[in-house]
């Protein structure tokens, strides 16, 4: 199992969530986050913004589904043809165990 953490633009969340749903990945957790990237934030006029609001999507998926999920997020979270700075990042980390509380069972 793998945890896919995707930090994306807030305005792209709706599209990404509905595309994930139609691709058969309904389970998602979303949280509001603030951060900056390699470009050190954005400069608008004289003001430098380095706490840019983003949304973080957390998905725990089977190893074989990881590529699909990453591909979908990558495709729909992107702005424009070639993408822009600030479109976000995706991190994948291992998950050792998963439990469902309602059924008390192990596994996804």
């Amino acid at each position: 199992m793998l945890l896919v953490r995707a930090i994306i633009r807030p305005e792209k969340v709706g599209t990404v969530l509905s595309e994930l749903l139609s691709a058969g990945f309904p389970a998602v957790t979303k949280m509001d986050v603030f951060g900056r990237g390699k470009q050190k934030g954005v400069k608008v006029g004289e003001i430098f913004y380095d706490e840019i609001p983003k949304e973080m999507l957390l998905m725990v998926v089977d190893d074989k589904d990881k590529d699909d999920v990453v591909r979908i997020v990558m495709k729909y979270a992107r702005t424009g043809e070639n993408g822009n700075f600030g479109d976000g990042r995706i991190f994948v980390s291992p998950v050792e165990e998963a439990y469902t509380i309602s059924t008390k069972t192990k596994g996804l």
Binding site: M1, L3, G14, L17, S18, L21, P26, A27, V28, T29, K30, M31, L58, V60, S93, P94, V95, E96, E97, A98, Y99, T100, I101, S102, K104
Partner: protein, 127 residues
């Protein structure tokens, strides 16, 4: 060291907190999150109430039922020693299970290092 990430119902936060303290894992971080699970929300119940005219179908209600809904949850993040993981998982499951879908999920992730900011202590003593 392991990270235990538990997504639970909002109204179970206090009970979970107390149970964890009793189980000897008092340190945790809790966050408000929105999410959805494998099972989608069954809106037929609500639909019948709206259709029967019990509550007026406002524009907001219509909008809510048209888009995907994310349910408000709390996510607990605990960093615990390897031998405590089973205890913590059992405690969380016991406190939070109502037997209904939507009780939540628990994920266990590996943590390779941890540091205490106060004095720079590393790994095992600073979890």
């Amino acid at each position: 060291m392991k990270e235990v990430m538990a997504i639970v119902r909002q109204n179970k936060v206090n009970a979970t907190k107390d149970a964890l303290a009793e189980a000897g894992a008092p340190a945790f971080t809790c966050r408000k999150v929105l999410g959805r699970g494998k099972k989608l929300i069954d809106m037929t119940l609500l639909r019948s109430i709206v259709d029967s005219g019990e509550i007026p179908a406002t524009a907001t209600g219509e909008y809510l039922s048209e888009t995907q809904r994310l349910i408000s949850k709390r996510v607990f993040t605990l960093i615990v020693e390897d031998d405590k993981v089973d205890d913590v998982v059992k405690t969380i499951i016991d406190v939070n299970s109502t037997g209904n879908p939507g009780d939540g999920k628990i994920f266990i992730l590996p943590i390779s290092e941890s540091y205490r900011v106060r004095n720079g202590e590393s790994t095992t003593e600073a979890y």
